[in-house]
């Protein structure tokens, strides 16, 4: 029996043996069913681990058994892995290590059954999500039989949460499927569909969900032949157990990981070291390495922040329910008006995700290009074997183009993405409103106009909402749902459900200029430009913010956004918020002669294909301000740009542009690319200490170059809410 000392059972835990059930369907066979009454999807929390231990002991003590099948409540429910919340709450390394060792030992006892008894076979029969600890349990079994249903997803996503697969996963996966495939699985954290898992040797058999238990029983008892898939033959010796090959593979993988994480994320590196050497190491010492590394990682700040963001994005999924918790309608038919860059991408995405979409534009050329881009995209997915031929065909059939605003009578939601002019948007939406059905939602993809103003003359403002996608639509993970003064809660829930279906994370914002993301982006980008004007070399500026952890520097970002778009956004922020948003004149001075950023091939960088290099001719164009800034350190450079963003965030929070600090952090990570390992803008502020930041903001206000310029001190002014919180030595996140 395992020792659960120190692992607290919550007071409302179900009674012993109620979470895991032992069935004996026929002589010699035991079936272990994960079925905890307190969870919809089993999680390996204290009560479930306790019961797993008890039931496993029964199996160990019964010498008549020669086969074990481990399965879930049904063919689409197995287990969700270790208790992430417990890991998130843990601060004591020794405690986490004990928790890890309990799981390791339990799973290894499953493996031990076949090690210790001749002819004993254990089979894991699972469907639905099988992530992390659940996958590690499967790896401890002799055979893995998976349901072929679409919901089946198996893998080891731990590194994405800043930890590593420490219940034997980092050890057993490379032994089972070979080092190269295991490294790919562990370092990307990707969850695989059943067929992919079979192809990679992780699953030994894929069966219809209705047959899952019957076939697993047969495999366990030897009635049904099921050879182990993962056997790698000679590669086992030439690659997996060849120290030279392993050193080479590990070296390459390390280089790739560092290129991707730029050293900010310790977990993939730690996982890599263990997994690469697992076939050359004894189980015992590999497990010890797993436990030591994972417990250190789990109590560190990166894992805490990553798990928090995972939780936040999970919580955002609750937005798709109506206020009474009931699910809202799923759209089948949509319209998109405007086949520009945004409109066509939105329409293509809707069609890919199963919604019949009608795209309107007055320009036939734009429509033709939109259809061809959609076809190319879908065809690309087909060629990558991510979808099958008939699915690709259906995705093509779901996008239609029309040159006039006709035929939208049956659309359940129409999203406009026409020119950013109030009169144009109003005209288009009222034309739609005249033909749309009584339930149809009218959404605007505006980034700078007020939803209230757009909705003002429409017959049903309660069904008008802002749905702000970011460019490029298919890559950017955030969607701002802008709630106008009249927008109904149901409308918000329905578009949130749509955003989630499109694979986006929704954040609900108030109807203020720039909403949240652009409102924070404005002062950040402008402050960056002012630093350039003050003599900070462009290369240094971008490098400083890359080092801070952002995915790209501000100048590179401006190139992506486009100078014209950035100027327009800055002007509308200035008009709305006054002095503190005063734009500097750098873009005006630089953005001449077709220099508009990536789309013209020339911005701060010279763009050629995917390559971009800073344009040396640029410095001559930048107007110089009276500078003192040259003496700033790299860290100070980054900090000044981030503080401009932070000061605005505290004001937005105070004005309740989003519900609270959690939503604000989520938006900064998914919308601004704020480094996930820092946990979001306000989590970063908490780490810095609010009193320190208040002092820094105050010092910035009196910097000569800031104080001298219009709106300088206002930009770094300390919001009342922040001052109050700092005075009590408080934090944004408890």
């Amino acid at each position: 029996m395992i020792d659960l000392t120190g692992i607290e059972l919550p007071p409302d835990s179900p009674p012993p043996r109620s979470c895991v059930r032992l069935e004996r369907p026929e002589p010699g066979l035991a079936r272990l069913v994960l079925d905890p009454p307190h969870r919809t999807l089993a999680v390996f929390d204290a009560p479930t681990l306790r019961d797993f231990d008890l039931v496993l002991e029964d199996v160990e003590n019964d010498a008549t058994l020669r086969a074990l099948v481990i399965t879930g409540r049904d063919a689409r429910t197995f287990a969700g892995g270790a208790d992430v919340d417990a890991i998130a709450a843990a601060t004591d390394v020794a405690f986490v290590r004990r928790f890890i060792e309990i799981g390791q030992r339990l799973w290894d006892r499953v493996a031990g059954l076949s090690r210790d008894r001749r002819g004993f076979t254990s089979v894991c029969a699972a469907g639905g999500p099988i992530p992390g600890g659940a996958c590690e349990l499967a790896l401890a079994c002799d055979r893995i039989v998976l349901s072929s249903a679409k919901e089946t997803r198996i893998g080891l996503p731990e590194t994405q949460l800043g930890i590593l697969p420490a219940w034997g996963g980092a050890t057993r996966l490379p032994r089972r499927i070979g080092v190269p495939a295991a490294l790919d699985a562990i370092l990307t954290g990707r969850l695989l569909a059943a067929a992919d898992a079979y192809r990679r040797g992780l699953a030994d058999r894929v069966v219809a969900p209705e047959d899952l238990v019957r076939i697993a029983d047969g495999v366990a008892l030897g009635r049904i032949a099921c050879p182990r898939r993962g056997r790698r033959g000679i590669a086992r010796y030439v690659v997996d157990r060849n120290p030279l090959a392993i050193a080479l593979i590990a070296h390459q993988a390390r280089k790739q990981v560092l290129a991707r994480t730029r050293g900010h994320y310790p977990a993939p590196l730690a996982a890599l070291e263990i997994a690469a050497r697992a076939p050359l190491t004894s189980l015992e010492s590999s497990f010890r390495a797993e436990a030591a590394a994972a417990s250190e990682l789990a109590v560190g700040p990166v894992a805490k922040n990553l798990i928090r963001i995972f939780r936040l994005s999970e919580d955002a999924k609750k937005l798709r329910k109506a206020s009474d918790g009931s699910p809202v309608r799923a759209f089948e038919r949509a319209g998109v008006i405007g086949a520009g860059v945004m409109g066509r991408a939105i329409a293509s995405l809707l069609s890919e995700r199963g919604i019949a979409t009608r795209l309107a534009d007055t320009s036939p050329a734009a429509l033709d290009a939109a259809l061809l881009e959609h076809r190319a995209e879908v065809d690309g997915r087909r060629k990558q074997r991510r979808i099958q031929q008939h699915e690709a065909q259906a995705a093509l059939d779901r996008l239609d183009a029309t040159r006039s605003i006709t035929g939208f009578g049956r659309a359940q939601i129409v999203i406009e993405a026409v020119a950013e002019r109030l009169d144009v948007k109003r005209a288009v939406l009222s034309e739609i409103a005249a033909q749309a059905g009584p339930e149809a939602i009218l959404a605007t993809n505006t980034s700078s106009l007020s939803v209230a103003a757009i909705a003002a003359e429409l017959p049903h403002p309660e069904r008008v909402v802002g749905l702000h996608f970011f460019n490029p639509v298919k890559k950017m993970p955030l969607v701002e749902i802008v709630r106008g003064p009249a927008t109904s809660a149901r409308t918000v829930a329905e578009v949130a459900a749509l955003a989630l279906r499109l694979g986006k994370t929704p954040v609900v914002t108030a109807d203020c200029a720039g909403f949240l993301v652009n409102r924070l982006l404005g002062p950040y980008l402008d402050e960056s430009l002012r630093l350039v004007a003050a003599g900070i070399e462009p290369a240094r500026l971008d490098a400083a913010l890359l080092a801070f952890g952002l995915p790209m520097g501000p100048l590179r970002l401006l190139d992506e956004v486009g100078f014209d778009v950035a100027k327009h956004a800055a002007a509308s922020l200035h008009a709305a918020y006054g002095a503190r948003m005063t734009p500097c004149d750098v873009l005006e001075a630089v953005g001449k002669d077709g220099r508009l950023g990536k789309k013209t091939g020339l911005g701060f960088y010279v763009h050629a294909g995917k390559r971009a290099e800073l344009d040396p001719a640029l410095l001559g164009l930048v107007p110089r301000s009276a500078a003192r800034a040259r003496t700033l350190t790299d860290a100070e450079v980054a900090e000044r740009a981030i503080l401009a963003m932070f000061a605005e965030a505290t004001r937005a929070l105070q004005e309740q542009v989003v519900v609270g600090p959690r939503e604000l952090d989520l938006a900064t990570v998914f919308g601004l690319g704020f480094p996930p390992f820092l946990g979001g803008l306000l989590a970063w502020a908490d780490t810095q200490g609010l009193p320190t930041l208040v002092a820094k903001l105050e010092r910035l206000q009196s910097e000569p170059d800031v104080a001298a310029r219009p709106g300088g001190p206002e930009r770094f002014a300390v919001a009342d809410g922040l001052r109050e919180l700092a005075r009590g030595n408080g934090r944004y996140h408890a």
Binding site: A356, R358, P364, A365, L367, D368, A369, L371, L372, R375, A376, Q393, A394, L396, D397, D400, A401, T402, R403, T406, G407, F408, G409, R410, Q435
Partner: protein, 439 residues
């Protein structure tokens, strides 16, 4: 005779077609279901009809692709018609698109349906090549081989000729197996019997191009056509907006230079005075008059009568005369009452033979069994917007296209009656008589 229940009025609610593209051209990579589904989907959206309320989808197609035996069902589902709506494919060779319409109308008339979507579609570019008999037998031998040695022997039996002389689907499709004549030869027979000269035929062909061009430039076809961006289009390609068979600069001299195609050297039928091989689709929505009122839609036309007639397969080109006579009788109308006629231009010689037969008392007596001729066809009322010689003849689509075009002529000419009729390979004719609906 027992009293029959009164028949219900059938109306044509709306229709739309793709441009007609010369085979092997811009629609060469198309697929019948995709082409048919796109135009049906657009028609359903524009007419604001909930596809779930359709009673049926009927598609006419003379040569459905081998992977779409019931192409109607495939295109219906791809057009977003829900699963509970049944679909069937009908065939009557060149009149398959018309058959889709008339068989739907029959159901509505009989009270078995209220609202039906009809499609005529043909992608002649994709008519297949088949292995010839010898190759087919050799493949059978390979598949029957039991031992590796037998297999090698069977494979060794292949000869280049087996693989390089395929049967050509489109040639076989355009040949009548009863008379053994390819369609062009039936037109040569009519040209001789009715004394149609090569010059007459070429002049008629030229007029077809000129009228089609004028109709296109005047925006007349914009009522019918939805531009189509075909499968296989590449980045930078544009949707096809107009029928691409219309030759703007066609001259009588150019036509005169062409040699006879079917009977060398003295025939009168050339590729210039015959219809082109073409890819296209057309969709129509038909309903009971009652249903149209419920939907609040003013129909394009009432379908007053229709008829099919059979005749000598070797003279199939006269089918329109036989069918029109029956349809006019059924509709209680005379040829003079008809403001315009869409008479499918399979061959210029065949159309001119029909014109002669319409106006012949002898023909009426001997072939139609009626006392007097149907009447003279005023050239201005015959194919006022050109016809298949300019636009093309995508076999299964044409019947639906000419009905749609004739229906629009009611409004264009502010007329009471128009007619669409065509000849059908195998020796038949079909005709649909349309009547204006007062709103």
């Amino acid at each position: 005779m027992s009293a029959r229940p009164p028949r219900r009025d059938v109306v044509l609610l709306a229709g739309l077609r793709t441009p007609m593209a010369r085979a092997g051209g811009v629609f060469a990579r198309e697929d019948a279901a995709h082409l048919g589904a796109s135009v049906l989907r657009e028609l359903l959206a524009r007419s604001n009809v909930d596809p779930g309320t359709l009673d049926e989808v009927v598609a006419g197609c003379a040569g459905p692709p081998s992977d779409q035996a019931n192409v109607a069902r495939v295109l219906a589902l791809r057009a977003g018609v829900p699963e509970h709506v049944p679909a069937r494919t009908v065939a009557r060779n060149c009149a398959s698109g018309m058959e889709a319409l008339t068989s739907a109308a029959t159901s509505i008339e009989a009270g078995r349906a209220e609202l039906v979507a009809c499609v005529g579609v043909e992608v002649m570019s994709r008519f297949p090549l088949f292995y010839n008999e010898a190759a087919t037998r050799q493949f059978e031998r390979v598949s029957r081989a039991r031992t590796p040695l037998q297999r090698v022997a069977a494979l060794a039996g292949f000869r280049p000729k087996m693989l390089l002389t395929p049967r050509i689907g489109i040639v076989e499709g355009l040949t009548d197996p009863i008379s053994g004549l390819v369609m062009g030869k039936t037109a040569e027979i009519l040209a001789r019997e009715f004394g149609v000269s090569r010059e007459d035929a070429d002049r008629f062909a030229l007029q077809s191009h000129q009228r089609a061009r004028a109709a296109r430039d005047a925006g007349r076809f914009a009522r019918e056509i939805v531009p189509h961006l075909p499968l296989g289009a590449r980045a930078g390609d544009r949707a096809l907006e107009h029928d691409d068979g219309i030759r703007d600069g066609q001259t009588i001299e150019q036509l005169a230079k062409l040699g006879p195609y079917f009977e060398k050297p003295d025939g009168r039928v050339t590729v210039g005075n015959s219809c082109g091989i073409t890819d296209a689709a057309a969709a129509l929505i038909v309903s009971s008059a009652q249903k149209a009122r419920e939907l609040g839609v003013t129909p394009l036309a009432r379908i007053r009568a229709w008829a099919y007639a059979g005749l000598d397969p070797a003279r199939m080109g006269l089918g329109p005369v036989y069918a029109t006579a029956k349809a006019l009788d059924a509709g209680g109308a005379r040829l003079d009452d008809v403001a315009s006629i869409e008479l499918n231009e399979a061959f210029a010689a065949q159309v001119l033979a029909c014109v002669a037969a319409f106006d012949s008392d002898t023909f009426a007596r001997e072939k139609l069994g009626r006392g007097a001729r149907l009447g003279a066809l005023d050239p201005a009322r015959l194919n006022p917007n050109g016809g298949a010689i300019a636009l093309g003849h995508p076999v299964g689509c044409t019947g639906a296209r000419i009905v749609l075009s004739a229906a629009h002529e009611l409004a264009v000419r502010d007329a009471e009656l128009t007619l669409a009729t065509l000849c059908i390979g195998g020796g038949q004719g079909g005709a649909v008589l349309l009547e204006r609906v007062s709103s």
